[in-house]
Protein backbone atom coordinates (compact mmCIF):
# COMPACT_ATOMS: atom_id res chain seq x y z
CA UNK A 1 0.00 0.00 0.00
CA UNK A 2 2.72 2.44 0.95
CA UNK A 3 4.79 1.37 -2.05
CA UNK A 4 1.81 2.10 -4.26
CA UNK A 5 1.23 5.54 -2.73
CA UNK A 6 4.95 6.18 -3.18
CA UNK A 7 4.53 5.34 -6.87
CA UNK A 8 1.72 7.86 -7.14
CA UNK A 9 3.73 10.66 -5.55
CA UNK A 10 4.20 13.34 -8.21
CA UNK A 11 6.52 15.86 -6.60
CA UNK A 12 9.38 15.35 -4.12
CA UNK A 13 8.47 16.61 -0.68
CA UNK A 14 10.57 19.82 -0.56
CA UNK A 15 9.22 20.95 -3.94
CA UNK A 16 5.69 20.09 -2.89
CA UNK A 17 6.05 22.21 0.24
CA UNK A 18 7.59 25.11 -1.67
CA UNK A 19 4.90 25.15 -4.36
CA UNK A 20 2.11 24.92 -1.81
CA UNK A 21 3.53 27.65 0.40
CA UNK A 22 4.09 30.07 -2.50
CA UNK A 23 0.62 29.56 -3.98
CA UNK A 24 -1.09 29.77 -0.60
CA UNK A 25 0.76 32.98 0.22
CA UNK A 26 -0.21 34.46 -3.12
CA UNK A 27 -3.87 33.93 -2.31
CA UNK A 28 -3.79 34.33 1.44
CA UNK A 29 -1.84 37.58 1.86
CA UNK A 30 -4.20 39.85 -0.13
CA UNK A 31 -7.27 38.02 1.20
CA UNK A 32 -6.09 38.37 4.77
CA UNK A 33 -5.38 42.06 4.25
CA UNK A 34 -8.87 42.64 2.85
CA UNK A 35 -10.41 40.88 5.85
CA UNK A 36 -8.25 42.74 8.37
CA UNK A 37 -8.83 46.11 6.69
CA UNK A 38 -12.58 45.59 6.81
CA UNK A 39 -12.37 45.11 10.60
CA UNK A 40 -10.12 48.16 10.96
CA UNK A 41 -11.19 51.80 10.95
CA UNK A 42 -10.89 54.02 7.87
CA UNK A 43 -8.23 56.04 9.68
CA UNK A 44 -6.25 52.95 10.62
CA UNK A 45 -6.26 51.62 7.02
CA UNK A 46 -5.34 55.05 5.65
CA UNK A 47 -2.32 55.19 7.95
CA UNK A 48 -1.04 51.98 6.37
CA UNK A 49 -1.73 49.43 9.12
CA UNK A 50 -1.72 45.78 8.07
CA UNK A 51 -2.80 44.55 11.50
CA UNK A 52 -5.63 46.70 12.90
CA UNK A 53 -4.85 48.80 15.99
CA UNK A 54 -8.32 47.91 17.20
CA UNK A 55 -10.86 45.52 15.75
CA UNK A 56 -14.32 46.91 15.13
CA UNK A 57 -17.41 46.21 13.06
CA UNK A 58 -17.77 49.92 12.43
CA UNK A 59 -17.25 49.72 8.66
CA UNK A 60 -19.82 46.94 8.33
CA UNK A 61 -22.34 49.23 10.01
CA UNK A 62 -21.62 52.30 7.92
CA UNK A 63 -21.70 50.86 4.39
CA UNK A 64 -25.49 50.53 4.45
CA UNK A 65 -25.85 54.31 4.38
CA UNK A 66 -22.65 55.36 2.60
CA UNK A 67 -22.58 52.81 -0.23
CA UNK A 68 -26.33 52.30 -0.72
CA UNK A 69 -25.54 48.60 -0.59
CA UNK A 70 -28.91 47.48 0.79
CA UNK A 71 -30.83 48.42 -2.38
CA UNK A 72 -28.12 46.85 -4.51
CA UNK A 73 -28.06 43.57 -2.62
CA UNK A 74 -31.84 43.33 -2.60
CA UNK A 75 -32.07 43.96 -6.35
CA UNK A 76 -29.30 41.46 -7.10
CA UNK A 77 -30.94 38.85 -4.87
CA UNK A 78 -34.38 39.27 -6.43
CA UNK A 79 -33.23 39.27 -10.04
CA UNK A 80 -30.61 36.53 -9.72
CA UNK A 81 -32.77 34.14 -7.67
CA UNK A 82 -35.50 34.36 -10.29
CA UNK A 83 -32.97 33.94 -13.10
CA UNK A 84 -31.56 30.83 -11.38
CA UNK A 85 -34.93 29.10 -11.09
CA UNK A 86 -36.21 30.07 -14.53
CA UNK A 87 -32.96 29.24 -16.29
CA UNK A 88 -32.62 25.82 -14.65
CA UNK A 89 -36.21 24.87 -15.53
CA UNK A 90 -36.10 26.15 -19.10
CA UNK A 91 -32.65 24.64 -19.57
CA UNK A 92 -33.86 21.22 -18.45
CA UNK A 93 -36.87 21.24 -20.75
CA UNK A 94 -34.83 22.42 -23.73
CA UNK A 95 -32.02 19.96 -23.06
CA UNK A 96 -34.46 17.06 -22.71
CA UNK A 97 -35.82 17.61 -26.19
CA UNK A 98 -32.33 18.03 -27.63
CA UNK A 99 -31.09 14.80 -26.06
CA UNK A 100 -34.09 12.54 -26.58
CA UNK A 101 -35.11 13.49 -30.08
CA UNK A 102 -33.28 13.60 -33.35
CA UNK A 103 -34.37 16.24 -35.82
CA UNK A 104 -32.85 18.42 -38.49
CA UNK A 105 -30.94 21.34 -37.06
CA UNK A 106 -30.28 19.61 -33.76
CA UNK A 107 -26.49 19.65 -34.12
CA UNK A 108 -26.58 23.27 -35.20
CA UNK A 109 -28.49 24.13 -32.03
CA UNK A 110 -26.01 22.18 -29.88
CA UNK A 111 -23.09 23.93 -31.52
CA UNK A 112 -24.88 27.25 -31.12
CA UNK A 113 -25.34 26.63 -27.39
CA UNK A 114 -21.59 26.45 -26.94
CA UNK A 115 -20.78 29.21 -29.41
CA UNK A 116 -23.24 31.67 -27.91
CA UNK A 117 -21.47 31.46 -24.55
CA UNK A 118 -18.35 33.01 -26.03
CA UNK A 119 -19.95 35.99 -27.76
CA UNK A 120 -18.57 39.12 -26.11
CA UNK A 121 -21.08 40.85 -23.88
CA UNK A 122 -19.88 44.17 -25.22
CA UNK A 123 -21.15 43.16 -28.66
CA UNK A 124 -24.60 42.25 -27.29
CA UNK A 125 -25.02 45.24 -25.00
CA UNK A 126 -25.73 47.93 -27.59
CA UNK A 127 -28.27 46.01 -29.73
CA UNK A 128 -30.01 44.72 -26.59
CA UNK A 129 -30.14 48.27 -25.29
CA UNK A 130 -31.52 49.51 -28.63
CA UNK A 131 -34.16 46.74 -28.65
CA UNK A 132 -35.15 47.37 -25.04
CA UNK A 133 -35.43 51.11 -25.53
CA UNK A 134 -37.36 50.54 -28.77
CA UNK A 135 -39.92 48.67 -26.69
CA UNK A 136 -40.32 51.98 -24.87
CA UNK A 137 -40.19 54.28 -27.90
CA UNK A 138 -42.27 52.27 -30.33
CA UNK A 139 -44.48 50.10 -28.11
CA UNK A 140 -44.72 52.16 -24.94
CA UNK A 141 -43.39 49.38 -22.69
CA UNK A 142 -40.63 50.50 -20.35
CA UNK A 143 -37.90 47.86 -20.16
CA UNK A 144 -34.67 49.81 -19.68
CA UNK A 145 -34.15 50.63 -16.02
CA UNK A 146 -36.52 47.96 -14.71
CA UNK A 147 -35.65 44.80 -12.81
CA UNK A 148 -37.50 42.56 -15.20
CA UNK A 149 -35.57 43.95 -18.17
CA UNK A 150 -32.41 42.89 -16.38
CA UNK A 151 -34.04 39.56 -15.56
CA UNK A 152 -34.85 38.91 -19.22
CA UNK A 153 -31.30 39.74 -20.29
CA UNK A 154 -29.63 37.56 -17.66
CA UNK A 155 -32.05 34.68 -18.18
CA UNK A 156 -31.34 34.60 -21.89
CA UNK A 157 -27.58 34.82 -21.49
CA UNK A 158 -27.61 32.10 -18.84
CA UNK A 159 -29.78 29.78 -20.92
CA UNK A 160 -27.14 28.43 -23.35
CA UNK A 161 -24.92 27.32 -20.48
CA UNK A 162 -27.78 26.00 -18.34
CA UNK A 163 -29.03 24.00 -21.30
CA UNK A 164 -25.55 22.69 -22.08
CA UNK A 165 -25.04 21.49 -18.50
CA UNK A 166 -28.34 19.65 -18.68
CA UNK A 167 -27.51 18.17 -22.10
CA UNK A 168 -24.30 16.63 -20.78
CA UNK A 169 -26.15 15.26 -17.75
CA UNK A 170 -29.28 13.94 -19.44
CA UNK A 171 -27.16 12.04 -21.96
CA UNK A 172 -26.11 9.78 -19.11
CA UNK A 173 -29.68 8.99 -17.99
CA UNK A 174 -30.83 5.68 -19.48
CA UNK A 175 -33.99 5.86 -21.57
CA UNK A 176 -35.42 2.86 -19.71
CA UNK A 177 -36.17 5.10 -16.73
CA UNK A 178 -38.90 6.81 -18.72
CA UNK A 179 -40.26 3.73 -20.51
CA UNK A 180 -42.61 2.83 -17.66
CA UNK A 181 -44.09 6.29 -17.73
CA UNK A 182 -44.42 6.15 -21.49
CA UNK A 183 -46.25 2.82 -21.24
CA UNK A 184 -48.76 4.41 -18.88
CA UNK A 185 -49.29 7.06 -21.52
CA UNK A 186 -47.89 9.96 -19.50
CA UNK A 187 -47.29 13.16 -21.46
CA UNK A 188 -43.80 14.57 -21.90
CA UNK A 189 -44.27 17.46 -19.45
CA UNK A 190 -45.48 14.95 -16.88
CA UNK A 191 -42.50 12.67 -17.46
CA UNK A 192 -40.22 15.69 -17.14
CA UNK A 193 -41.76 16.77 -13.85
CA UNK A 194 -42.14 13.31 -12.28
CA UNK A 195 -39.14 11.36 -13.57
CA UNK A 196 -36.49 13.49 -15.25
CA UNK A 197 -36.33 16.47 -12.89
CA UNK A 198 -36.10 14.53 -9.61
CA UNK A 199 -33.36 12.35 -11.13
CA UNK A 200 -31.29 15.25 -12.41
CA UNK A 201 -31.44 17.46 -9.33
CA UNK A 202 -27.63 17.72 -8.98
CA UNK A 203 -27.30 19.05 -12.53
CA UNK A 204 -30.30 21.36 -12.08
CA UNK A 205 -28.62 22.83 -9.01
CA UNK A 206 -25.42 23.44 -10.98
CA UNK A 207 -27.17 25.10 -13.90
CA UNK A 208 -29.25 27.24 -11.54
CA UNK A 209 -26.27 28.38 -9.53
CA UNK A 210 -24.27 29.29 -12.63
CA UNK A 211 -27.20 31.34 -13.86
CA UNK A 212 -27.31 33.06 -10.48
CA UNK A 213 -23.57 33.80 -10.65
CA UNK A 214 -23.84 35.16 -14.19
CA UNK A 215 -26.31 37.76 -12.99
CA UNK A 216 -24.58 38.48 -9.71
CA UNK A 217 -21.15 39.00 -11.31
CA UNK A 218 -22.32 41.15 -14.21
CA UNK A 219 -21.35 44.81 -14.33
CA UNK A 220 -21.66 45.49 -18.06
CA UNK A 221 -25.42 45.12 -18.55
CA UNK A 222 -26.34 46.34 -15.09
CA UNK A 223 -24.40 49.59 -15.60
CA UNK A 224 -26.53 50.46 -18.64
CA UNK A 225 -29.88 48.75 -18.01
CA UNK A 226 -30.49 49.98 -14.45
CA UNK A 227 -31.28 53.29 -12.77
CA UNK A 228 -30.26 54.16 -9.17
CA UNK A 229 -33.31 52.49 -7.62
CA UNK A 230 -32.87 49.24 -9.55
CA UNK A 231 -29.09 48.98 -9.66
CA UNK A 232 -27.38 45.79 -8.55
CA UNK A 233 -24.78 45.16 -5.86
CA UNK A 234 -22.06 45.02 -8.52
CA UNK A 235 -22.86 48.51 -9.80
CA UNK A 236 -23.30 49.92 -6.29
CA UNK A 237 -19.92 48.55 -5.18
CA UNK A 238 -17.99 49.70 -8.27
CA UNK A 239 -19.50 53.16 -7.95
CA UNK A 240 -18.70 53.27 -4.23
CA UNK A 241 -15.11 52.15 -4.80
CA UNK A 242 -14.58 54.75 -7.51
CA UNK A 243 -16.22 57.80 -5.93
CA UNK A 244 -14.77 57.49 -2.45
CA UNK A 245 -11.20 58.01 -3.57
CA UNK A 246 -9.40 61.31 -3.28
CA UNK A 247 -11.38 62.49 -0.25
CA UNK A 248 -9.62 63.94 2.81
CA UNK A 249 -9.85 60.59 4.60
CA UNK A 250 -10.17 57.68 2.18
CA UNK A 251 -12.77 55.13 3.30
CA UNK A 252 -10.76 52.06 2.28
CA UNK A 253 -11.99 50.04 5.25
CA UNK A 254 -15.60 50.58 4.20
CA UNK A 255 -14.77 49.67 0.60
CA UNK A 256 -13.26 46.38 1.80
CA UNK A 257 -16.27 45.65 4.01
CA UNK A 258 -18.69 46.42 1.18
CA UNK A 259 -16.67 44.21 -1.19
CA UNK A 260 -16.77 41.29 1.25
CA UNK A 261 -20.50 41.68 1.85
CA UNK A 262 -21.11 41.69 -1.93
CA UNK A 263 -19.03 38.53 -2.29
CA UNK A 264 -20.62 36.73 0.68
CA UNK A 265 -23.64 35.18 -1.09
CA UNK A 266 -21.40 33.81 -3.84
CA UNK A 267 -18.87 32.39 -1.39
CA UNK A 268 -21.70 30.82 0.58
CA UNK A 269 -23.10 29.14 -2.53
CA UNK A 270 -19.68 27.68 -3.35
CA UNK A 271 -19.17 26.46 0.20
CA UNK A 272 -22.51 24.65 0.24
CA UNK A 273 -22.38 23.23 -3.29
CA UNK A 274 -18.60 22.97 -3.84
CA UNK A 275 -18.71 19.32 -4.86
CA UNK A 276 -21.27 19.86 -7.64
CA UNK A 277 -19.89 23.15 -8.87
CA UNK A 278 -16.29 22.17 -9.49
CA UNK A 279 -17.42 19.20 -11.59
CA UNK A 280 -19.88 21.28 -13.57
CA UNK A 281 -17.25 23.92 -14.14
CA UNK A 282 -14.75 21.67 -15.85
CA UNK A 283 -17.53 20.02 -17.84
CA UNK A 284 -18.72 23.31 -19.26
CA UNK A 285 -15.40 25.09 -19.21
CA UNK A 286 -16.97 28.43 -18.38
CA UNK A 287 -16.48 31.14 -15.86
Amino acid sequence: MSASSEAHRLLPRPLLVAVTVILCAMVLVPTLYILLASFNTDLGVASGEFWPGSFSLDSYGRIWTTAGLATGLLNSMLVCALVAVASALLGTVTAYVLVRHTFTGRLTILRGLVGLQSIPGTLMLLPVFVLFSSAGNYLGVTVVGTRWGLFLAYLTFALPFSTWVMVTYLRGLPRELEEAGRMDGASTPRILARIIMPLSLPAIVVSGIFAFLLGWNDVLFASVLTRPSTRTAAVALSAFGATQEGGAVPVYSQVMAAALVSAAPVVLLYLVFQRYLVGGLTAGGVK
Binding site: V19, V27, L90, V114, G121, L123, L126, Y252
Partner: protein
Protein backbone atom coordinates in the same frame (compact mmCIF):
# COMPACT_ATOMS: atom_id res chain seq x y z
CA UNK B 1 -30.35 0.96 -32.02
CA UNK B 2 -33.74 0.14 -33.47
CA UNK B 3 -35.51 1.71 -30.55
CA UNK B 4 -38.97 3.13 -30.89
CA UNK B 5 -38.71 6.89 -31.03
CA UNK B 6 -40.83 8.38 -28.22
CA UNK B 7 -43.44 10.94 -29.13
CA UNK B 8 -41.74 14.02 -30.46
CA UNK B 9 -42.63 17.05 -28.40
CA UNK B 10 -40.58 19.59 -30.22
CA UNK B 11 -42.94 22.37 -29.09
CA UNK B 12 -41.14 22.20 -25.74
CA UNK B 13 -38.24 23.99 -27.41
CA UNK B 14 -40.42 27.06 -27.93
CA UNK B 15 -39.95 29.06 -24.69
CA UNK B 16 -36.17 28.66 -24.55
CA UNK B 17 -35.82 29.00 -28.31
CA UNK B 18 -37.99 32.12 -28.42
CA UNK B 19 -35.97 33.83 -25.68
CA UNK B 20 -32.63 32.98 -27.24
CA UNK B 21 -33.83 34.09 -30.67
CA UNK B 22 -35.29 37.36 -29.39
CA UNK B 23 -32.50 38.41 -27.05
CA UNK B 24 -29.43 36.77 -28.60
CA UNK B 25 -29.93 36.04 -32.30
CA UNK B 26 -31.96 39.15 -33.18
CA UNK B 27 -29.58 41.53 -31.36
CA UNK B 28 -26.65 39.78 -33.02
CA UNK B 29 -28.13 40.50 -36.45
CA UNK B 30 -29.11 43.98 -35.30
CA UNK B 31 -25.49 44.61 -34.33
CA UNK B 32 -24.49 44.13 -37.98
CA UNK B 33 -27.16 46.58 -39.12
CA UNK B 34 -26.24 49.17 -36.47
CA UNK B 35 -22.63 49.07 -37.62
CA UNK B 36 -23.76 50.24 -41.05
CA UNK B 37 -25.82 53.27 -39.98
CA UNK B 38 -24.94 56.67 -38.58
CA UNK B 39 -26.35 56.28 -35.08
CA UNK B 40 -25.79 58.86 -32.34
CA UNK B 41 -27.76 60.25 -29.41
CA UNK B 42 -30.04 62.21 -31.78
CA UNK B 43 -30.92 59.36 -34.11
CA UNK B 44 -31.08 56.69 -31.36
CA UNK B 45 -34.73 57.24 -30.42
CA UNK B 46 -35.82 56.71 -34.02
CA UNK B 47 -33.02 54.40 -35.09
CA UNK B 48 -35.07 52.88 -37.91
CA UNK B 49 -34.81 56.24 -39.70
CA UNK B 50 -31.08 56.75 -39.05
CA UNK B 51 -29.08 57.52 -42.23
CA UNK B 52 -27.22 54.62 -43.87
CA UNK B 53 -23.48 55.04 -43.64
CA UNK B 54 -22.12 52.03 -45.50
CA UNK B 55 -18.68 51.05 -44.28
CA UNK B 56 -17.84 54.53 -42.97
CA UNK B 57 -17.98 53.32 -39.36
CA UNK B 58 -15.47 50.56 -40.09
CA UNK B 59 -13.16 52.98 -41.87
CA UNK B 60 -13.34 55.38 -38.94
CA UNK B 61 -12.79 52.57 -36.43
CA UNK B 62 -9.60 51.47 -38.13
CA UNK B 63 -8.47 55.07 -38.48
CA UNK B 64 -8.93 55.75 -34.75
CA UNK B 65 -8.07 53.75 -31.64
CA UNK B 66 -9.21 50.29 -32.75
CA UNK B 67 -5.91 48.81 -34.01
CA UNK B 68 -4.26 49.95 -30.77
CA UNK B 69 -7.07 48.34 -28.73
CA UNK B 70 -6.77 45.09 -30.68
CA UNK B 71 -3.03 45.00 -30.01
CA UNK B 72 -3.50 45.62 -26.28
CA UNK B 73 -6.31 43.07 -26.02
CA UNK B 74 -4.46 40.29 -27.82
CA UNK B 75 -1.18 40.79 -25.98
CA UNK B 76 -3.01 41.06 -22.64
CA UNK B 77 -5.02 37.89 -23.30
CA UNK B 78 -2.10 35.79 -24.53
CA UNK B 79 0.25 36.99 -21.81
CA UNK B 80 -2.30 36.29 -19.07
CA UNK B 81 -2.99 32.81 -20.41
CA UNK B 82 0.67 31.86 -20.79
CA UNK B 83 1.50 33.16 -17.33
CA UNK B 84 -1.30 31.23 -15.61
CA UNK B 85 -0.31 27.84 -17.09
CA UNK B 86 2.68 27.09 -14.80
CA UNK B 87 0.68 28.20 -11.73
CA UNK B 88 -2.24 25.98 -12.67
CA UNK B 89 -0.15 22.88 -13.41
CA UNK B 90 2.01 23.32 -10.30
CA UNK B 91 -1.08 23.68 -8.13
CA UNK B 92 -2.70 20.60 -9.65
CA UNK B 93 0.45 18.49 -9.17
CA UNK B 94 0.85 19.71 -5.60
CA UNK B 95 -2.69 18.76 -4.59
CA UNK B 96 -2.93 15.47 -6.46
CA UNK B 97 -1.50 13.30 -3.67
CA UNK B 98 -3.46 13.22 -0.43
CA UNK B 99 -1.99 14.73 2.73
CA UNK B 100 -3.38 16.15 5.92
CA UNK B 101 -4.88 19.59 5.25
CA UNK B 102 -5.13 19.13 1.49
CA UNK B 103 -8.84 19.95 1.53
CA UNK B 104 -8.07 23.32 3.08
CA UNK B 105 -5.35 24.08 0.51
CA UNK B 106 -7.68 23.14 -2.35
CA UNK B 107 -10.40 25.39 -0.97
CA UNK B 108 -7.90 28.24 -0.61
CA UNK B 109 -6.79 27.85 -4.24
CA UNK B 110 -10.36 28.46 -5.33
CA UNK B 111 -10.71 31.78 -3.47
CA UNK B 112 -9.62 34.09 -6.33
CA UNK B 113 -11.85 32.12 -8.66
CA UNK B 114 -14.93 32.23 -6.48
CA UNK B 115 -14.73 35.94 -5.72
CA UNK B 116 -16.77 37.91 -8.27
CA UNK B 117 -14.66 39.86 -10.76
CA UNK B 118 -16.09 43.17 -9.62
CA UNK B 119 -15.05 42.38 -6.06
CA UNK B 120 -11.52 41.38 -7.10
CA UNK B 121 -11.20 44.56 -9.15
CA UNK B 122 -12.54 46.78 -6.36
CA UNK B 123 -10.23 45.42 -3.67
CA UNK B 124 -7.14 45.57 -5.90
CA UNK B 125 -8.08 49.07 -6.98
CA UNK B 126 -8.15 50.06 -3.32
CA UNK B 127 -4.88 48.29 -2.49
CA UNK B 128 -3.13 49.85 -5.51
CA UNK B 129 -4.08 53.45 -4.72
CA UNK B 130 -1.05 55.80 -4.56
CA UNK B 131 -1.43 55.81 -0.75
CA UNK B 132 -2.66 52.20 -0.59
CA UNK B 133 -1.17 49.17 1.12
CA UNK B 134 0.92 48.00 -1.85
CA UNK B 135 2.89 51.23 -1.99
CA UNK B 136 3.14 51.33 1.81
CA UNK B 137 4.72 47.87 1.84
CA UNK B 138 7.03 48.72 -1.08
CA UNK B 139 8.11 51.90 0.74
CA UNK B 140 9.37 49.84 3.70
CA UNK B 141 11.92 48.26 1.35
CA UNK B 142 12.66 51.65 -0.23
CA UNK B 143 10.85 51.08 -3.50
CA UNK B 144 8.69 53.88 -4.83
CA UNK B 145 5.62 52.09 -6.18
CA UNK B 146 4.29 55.17 -7.92
CA UNK B 147 1.09 55.05 -9.93
CA UNK B 148 -0.39 51.64 -10.67
CA UNK B 149 -3.74 52.68 -12.06
CA UNK B 150 -2.69 55.22 -14.69
CA UNK B 151 0.21 55.65 -17.06
CA UNK B 152 2.28 52.89 -18.67
CA UNK B 153 2.36 50.69 -15.56
CA UNK B 154 -1.42 50.24 -15.70
CA UNK B 155 -0.97 47.57 -18.39
CA UNK B 156 1.08 45.42 -16.02
CA UNK B 157 -1.41 46.05 -13.24
CA UNK B 158 -4.15 44.66 -15.48
CA UNK B 159 -2.06 41.60 -16.38
CA UNK B 160 -1.03 40.89 -12.77
CA UNK B 161 -4.53 41.19 -11.35
CA UNK B 162 -5.91 39.02 -14.16
CA UNK B 163 -3.27 36.37 -13.42
CA UNK B 164 -4.15 36.50 -9.73
CA UNK B 165 -7.82 36.03 -10.51
CA UNK B 166 -7.58 33.52 -13.37
CA UNK B 167 -4.92 30.90 -12.52
CA UNK B 168 -7.34 28.68 -10.56
CA UNK B 169 -9.22 27.99 -13.80
CA UNK B 170 -6.07 26.42 -15.25
CA UNK B 171 -5.63 24.57 -11.95
CA UNK B 172 -9.12 23.07 -12.12
CA UNK B 173 -8.71 22.00 -15.74
CA UNK B 174 -5.26 20.50 -15.07
CA UNK B 175 -6.66 18.69 -12.03
CA UNK B 176 -9.41 17.19 -14.19
CA UNK B 177 -6.71 16.04 -16.61
CA UNK B 178 -4.70 14.40 -13.83
CA UNK B 179 -7.74 12.32 -12.83
CA UNK B 180 -7.58 10.64 -16.21
CA UNK B 181 -4.08 9.22 -15.69
CA UNK B 182 -4.40 5.47 -15.21
CA UNK B 183 -3.21 4.07 -11.93
CA UNK B 184 -1.17 1.40 -13.74
CA UNK B 185 0.84 4.08 -15.47
CA UNK B 186 2.27 5.24 -12.14
CA UNK B 187 2.97 1.72 -11.02
CA UNK B 188 4.67 0.82 -14.29
CA UNK B 189 6.93 3.83 -14.13
CA UNK B 190 7.71 3.04 -10.48
CA UNK B 191 8.77 -0.48 -11.46
CA UNK B 192 10.97 1.01 -14.15
CA UNK B 193 12.56 3.00 -11.34
CA UNK B 194 11.96 6.33 -13.03
CA UNK B 195 12.82 9.42 -10.97
CA UNK B 196 10.19 12.06 -10.36
CA UNK B 197 11.31 14.41 -13.15
CA UNK B 198 11.32 11.87 -16.01
CA UNK B 199 8.09 10.42 -14.63
CA UNK B 200 6.54 13.89 -14.64
CA UNK B 201 7.70 15.03 -18.07
CA UNK B 202 7.41 11.74 -19.96
CA UNK B 203 4.47 10.04 -18.25
CA UNK B 204 2.20 12.53 -16.50
CA UNK B 205 2.45 15.76 -18.50
CA UNK B 206 1.50 14.17 -21.85
CA UNK B 207 -1.85 13.33 -20.25
CA UNK B 208 -2.28 17.00 -19.42
CA UNK B 209 -1.61 18.37 -22.88
CA UNK B 210 -5.20 18.05 -24.11
CA UNK B 211 -6.99 19.49 -21.08
CA UNK B 212 -4.44 22.29 -20.67
CA UNK B 213 -4.63 23.31 -24.34
CA UNK B 214 -8.41 23.40 -24.09
CA UNK B 215 -8.13 25.45 -20.91
CA UNK B 216 -5.75 27.88 -22.67
CA UNK B 217 -8.19 28.38 -25.51
CA UNK B 218 -11.10 29.05 -23.16
CA UNK B 219 -8.99 31.24 -20.87
CA UNK B 220 -7.80 33.36 -23.82
CA UNK B 221 -11.42 33.87 -24.91
CA UNK B 222 -12.34 34.87 -21.36
CA UNK B 223 -9.44 37.33 -21.11
CA UNK B 224 -10.26 38.94 -24.46
CA UNK B 225 -13.91 39.35 -23.49
CA UNK B 226 -13.17 40.58 -19.96
CA UNK B 227 -14.86 43.91 -19.44
CA UNK B 228 -15.42 43.95 -15.68
CA UNK B 229 -11.78 43.89 -14.62
CA UNK B 230 -10.50 46.89 -16.64
CA UNK B 231 -13.76 48.79 -16.13
CA UNK B 232 -13.79 48.52 -12.35
CA UNK B 233 -9.99 48.72 -11.91
CA UNK B 234 -9.44 51.85 -13.99
CA UNK B 235 -12.89 53.33 -14.62
CA UNK B 236 -14.16 54.55 -17.98
CA UNK B 237 -12.61 55.96 -20.07
CA UNK B 238 -9.62 53.74 -19.32
CA UNK B 239 -6.00 54.91 -19.51
CA UNK B 240 -4.60 54.52 -23.01
CA UNK B 241 -2.40 51.55 -22.06
CA UNK B 242 -5.34 49.41 -20.90
CA UNK B 243 -7.85 50.55 -23.49
CA UNK B 244 -8.80 46.96 -24.39
CA UNK B 245 -11.51 46.21 -26.94
CA UNK B 246 -14.41 45.75 -24.53
CA UNK B 247 -13.52 49.13 -22.98
CA UNK B 248 -13.25 51.04 -26.25
CA UNK B 249 -16.53 49.53 -27.50
CA UNK B 250 -18.28 50.49 -24.25
CA UNK B 251 -16.90 54.00 -24.04
CA UNK B 252 -17.62 54.74 -27.71
CA UNK B 253 -21.23 53.70 -27.11
CA UNK B 254 -22.17 54.96 -23.73
CA UNK B 255 -19.83 57.89 -23.17
CA UNK B 256 -19.06 59.27 -26.64
CA UNK B 257 -22.56 58.20 -27.77
CA UNK B 258 -21.22 57.15 -31.21
CA UNK B 259 -23.39 54.04 -31.35
CA UNK B 260 -22.83 53.14 -35.00
CA UNK B 261 -19.06 53.42 -34.66
CA UNK B 262 -19.14 51.32 -31.51
CA UNK B 263 -21.18 48.59 -33.24
CA UNK B 264 -18.57 48.46 -36.01
CA UNK B 265 -15.80 48.05 -33.41
CA UNK B 266 -17.79 45.27 -31.70
CA UNK B 267 -18.21 43.42 -34.99
CA UNK B 268 -14.46 43.53 -35.56
CA UNK B 269 -13.89 42.14 -32.07
CA UNK B 270 -16.33 39.31 -32.84
CA UNK B 271 -14.35 38.42 -35.96
CA UNK B 272 -11.21 38.35 -33.86
CA UNK B 273 -12.54 35.89 -31.28
CA UNK B 274 -14.19 33.85 -34.03
CA UNK B 275 -10.79 32.32 -34.81
CA UNK B 276 -10.13 30.63 -31.43
CA UNK B 277 -13.85 29.96 -31.06
CA UNK B 278 -13.93 28.11 -34.37
CA UNK B 279 -11.01 25.94 -33.28
CA UNK B 280 -12.82 25.14 -30.04
CA UNK B 281 -16.11 24.25 -31.70
CA UNK B 282 -14.34 21.98 -34.17
CA UNK B 283 -12.51 20.18 -31.37
CA UNK B 284 -15.64 19.73 -29.28
CA UNK B 285 -17.38 16.39 -29.69
CA UNK B 286 -21.03 17.37 -29.76
CA UNK B 287 -22.75 14.13 -30.48
CA UNK B 288 -21.33 11.73 -27.93
CA UNK B 289 -23.69 8.83 -28.11
CA UNK B 290 -26.55 9.28 -25.71
CA UNK B 291 -26.39 6.14 -23.61
CA UNK B 292 -23.22 4.91 -22.00
CA UNK B 293 -21.25 7.66 -23.69
CA UNK B 294 -18.50 9.35 -21.72
CA UNK B 295 -19.55 12.55 -20.03
Amino acid sequence: MAKREPRRDLWLLTPGGLLMTLIIVVPLLLAFYLSLIDLDQYTLRRWLDAPFAGLDNFAEAFGSGLPHAIGISVSFAVLSTVATVPFGIAAALATQNAYRGRGLVRALFLVPYVLPSFVVATVWRTMLQPDGIVNTVLATVNIDGGLWLSGPKSYWTLVLVEIWAAWPFLYLMALAGLQSVDSEVYEASAIDGAGWWPKLTRVVLPYLRGPVLLACLLATLNHINNFTLPYVLFGAPAPDDVNVMPMIVYVTSFQSLRFGLSAAMAIVSLLLIAIPLFVYLRALRLDVHEEGGRR
